[in-house]
């Protein structure tokens, strides 16, 4: 056959073959293959999207945790500082109270000592008066009027108190 010899039969066979292959493959090959490819591409895209979303979320969480950590650190520092000042105040209070208590105790002790001293002095004075009276009575031999003598003795003692040097001398 010549290269350029037209053959309608060959053309018809070409059309038949091509159309049959097209229809068969479209139904049994291209549709499933293309659908599968599309599904896979969609799946991959979803996976990438999910991964990106997960990463964004992780980043956000990380930032959040960092923020929380920083907040916590600041909070801790604040609490520690507060504790320090509180402790300082308590210490000062305690010291202050202890000092004032000690002062109060000392003051009370002073007053008590003073009181005791006075009482002792009064007792000594009384005893001295009694002694003096007894001695004087025995010397004189006669009993003086109790009340008068006592007044005299006390007057004398008051003089001594006012000027102890004079009595001693």
């Amino acid at each position: 056959m010549d290269l350029l010899n037209p053959s309608i039969g060959l053309g018809i066979w070409t059309i038949l073959t091509f159309v049959v292959v097209l229809l068969v493959l479209r139904k049994f090959a291209w549709k499933p293959i293309l659908d599968g490819m599309e599904a896979r591409e969609r799946g991959i895209r979803e996976l990438i999207d999910n991964a990106e979303a997960a990463r964004a979320e992780a980043d956000q969480l990380l930032a959040q945790y960092r923020q929380q950590l920083a907040d916590a650190r600041v909070e801790t520092q604040r609490i520690v500082a507060e504790g320090k000042t509180a402790a300082e105040r308590v210490r000062q209070d305690t010291v202050e109270r202890a000092r004032s208590e000690a002062e109060a105790i000392v003051a009370r002790a002073h007053t008590e000592i003073d009181l005791e001293r006075r009482k002792a002095l009064a007792e000594i004075r009384e005893a001295a008066v009694d002694l003096a009276l007894g001695a004087a009575g025995r010397v004189i031999g006669e009993s003086l009027d109790e009340e008068r003598h006592r007044r005299i003795a006390e007057g004398y003692l008051q003089e001594i108190e006012r000027d102890p040097q004079q009595v001693a001398g």
């Binding site: 039969g9 060959l10 066979w13 073959t17 479209r26 049994f28 090959a29 549709k31």
Partner: protein, 317 residues
């Protein structure tokens, strides 16, 4: 194919050259060409032994040539007065079709998430045709329905091209009837999709793509004349691009084979083994090129088809 050419020509000298190997190369060549021309004039089907017959090798025939192992006669059919013989090229179209069915239907059944082996290899082509050919030329919105057609076209042409490169193979796509028919299908699809998309009025309007609004008698006449001219130009462009499609594929597939056969024929024409290494080396080089061309031409045909469909669907781009 190499074997075919070599073996046929191995017997080339027996009947045609009476004086054994003393005959000058020029006379041999002249005789061969002359007899070949006679052969063609006689109808070409009866291919006598002893001729260096490139045309016979490239053309269609009623037998499958497995020289030196003999030939298989193909059935001759006539339906309604049309010669519907199962010729060599029909057989190779069917082989191409069978190859496609054998490769792609199993590939479609493999539904795993990852393709392996041949399916993986072919999927790269499928993705390329879908994304780079169909979507790029037709647009993401409209490409969908055309993808199966473009895929079928690409692999049908590719396999037909490659089958022609096998020993004893024939290139159905080097036959202009085959490529012409495929181009015609492209034209029907492109123009048909244009009519479907734009409507009959919109389809007709694109043949006169500018508005002719000149006033006055002279202007009106000018409008008609210019409109007619534009219509003719547009119509010619619509038809000629289809003819170009037909010729491009057929000529490309023929040319490589002619070059290979001519290079190998040189050995027998010059009737010396000295040129054999050079001829074979060049033939192997051209054969490599032909593998590439088989792929490129399948791609170009598909690409241009997609382009024409794209132009038909979006006429103003």
């Amino acid at each position: 194919m190499l074997a075919t050419a070599a073996s046929r020509n191995g017997t080339a000298q027996e009947p045609s050259s009476g004086p054994e190997s003393h005959a000058p190369a020029e006379r041999e060549l002249g005789a061969a060409v002359h007899e070949e021309a006679q052969d063609v004039a006689e109808g070409g089907a009866e291919h006598g032994e002893g001729k260096f017959d490139i045309v016979h090798h490239l053309g269609d025939s009623h037998e499958l040539d497995f020289a030196p192992f003999g030939t298989i006669q193909l059935p001759r059919l006539e339906v309604f007065g049309i010669d519907m013989s199962i010729t060599k090229h029909v057989v190779f179209l069917w082989l191409s079709a069978a190859l496609m069915l054998a490769l792609f239907i199993p590939m479609a059944r493999n539904r795993g998430p990852v393709r392996r082996g041949v399916g993986n290899f072919l999927e790269a082509f499928v993705v390329y045709v879908r994304d780079e050919v169909a979507v790029n030329n037709i647009g993401k919105k409209d490409a969908g329905p055309y993808v199966p057609y473009l895929l079928t076209l690409f692999f049908f042409i590719l396999f037909a091209n490659l089958l022609g490169l096998l020993p004893f193979g024939a290139t159905a796509t080097s036959n202009w009837i085959v490529t012409g028919t495929l181009a015609l299908i492209t034209m029907v699809v492109a123009e048909g999709s244009s009519v479907v998309k734009l409507g009959a009025g919109g389809y007709a309007r694109q043949f006169i793509p500018v508005k002719l609004e000149s006033q006055g008698v002279v202007g009106k006449v000018g409008n008609v004349a210019l409109g007619g001219l534009l219509f003719v130009i547009e119509a010619v462009s619509h038809v000629s691009r289809i003819i170009a499609l037909m010729i491009r594929l057929a000529a490309n597939m023929t040319a490589g084979h002619v070059v290979i056969l001519a290079l190998l024929g040189l050995i027998f024409i010059l009737n010396t083994y000295v040129v054999a290494p050079i001829s074979v080396a060049f033939a192997v080089g051209v054969y490599m090129l032909e593998i590439f061309i088989a792929l490129v031409q399948a791609f170009i045909f598909t690409m241009l088809t997609a382009l024409f469909i794209g132009m038909a669907v979006h006429p103003h781009h």
